[in-house]
């Protein structure tokens, strides 16, 4: 399809967790959405990296905006700090969602052609879906 889809950035304290969630979301959604894993510090330790997040936002944006999912508290702080410098560089929404479920739900909605608000909403609705 020629219409760009919303991009996804997964920000985790763990390099492996971000990469694993990105792989899972890509597999479930059919692999048509740009998902960037921004996990770990610049040195690859546990933590988050403003540089990785900023790079992720740039790479994820295919022209339809980006939805960012952080895993734990300070990942949110890192994303917010990056977003303050990102004003005017495209629509980015920060989703308040469970990391794995939100990543899967957001990516599937992006793959179906949902806009940036619909993709963020899908991620946030993941909070209310019971698995048992």
């Amino acid at each position: 399809m020629s219409t760009p889809t919303v991009g996804i950035v997964l920000v985790s304290h763990s390099t492996e967790l971000a990469a694993g969630a990105a792989y899972l979301a890509a597999q479930v959604s059919g692999g048509t959405v740009t998902i960037i894993a921004a996990g770990g510090t610049d040195e690859g330790d546990l933590g988050t990296s403003a540089a990785k997040v900023a790079d992720g936002l740039r790479r994820a944006d295919q022209g339809a905006g980006v939805v960012v999912l952080p895993d734990l508290g300070s990942a949110v702080l890192t994303v917010k700090a990056v977003l303050e410098d990102h004003i005017g560089k495209g629509t980015v929404l920060l989703a308040d969602a469970p990391f794995v479920e939100g990543a899967v739900a957001a990516t599937v909605t992006a793959a179906a052609g949902g806009d940036v608000k619909a993709v963020a909403a899908a991620a946030e609705e993941a909070r209310h879906v019971r698995k048992l």
């Binding site: 899972l24 597999q27 479930v28 959604s29 059919g30 479920e101 899967v104 739900a105 599937v108 909605t109 793959a111 179906a112 052609g113 949902g114 899908a122 609705e125 993941a126 879906v129 019971r130 698995k131």
Partner: protein, 90 residues
């Protein structure tokens, strides 16, 4: 013109993550309101987590219902996906 359609299918395999994802991606491309039911449980077909939450397994009967202008096409597309995607594990 708005219309409602429904069709049932007996699953040839379990409704794992990837077939559930394929179903939800396809459902999201239609304007129609679409649901998938398994036994007493009904999920929004456009919600991958809802579809996974059905926990539908091989041999179970599912019903796809849709209402809206493209309801007929939506039901046909989702039944086709359920028929194909559950043939292999995922």
């Amino acid at each position: 013109m708005s219309a409602s359609y429904e069709q049932g299918i007996t699953l040839a395999g379990d409704l794992h993550a990837r077939p559930a994802g394929a179903l939800a991606v396809a459902a999201g491309r239609f304007a129609a309101v679409i649901s998938v039911s398994a036994g007493d449980h009904t999920a929004d077909a456009k919600s991958v987590l809802g579809v996974m939450g059905l926990g539908a397994t091989s041999g179970q009967h599912l019903t796809v219902k849709a209402s809206g202008t493209d309801a007929r096409e939506a039901v046909a597309a989702l039944i086709a996906i359920l028929s194909e995607a559950t043939k292999v594990g995922g």
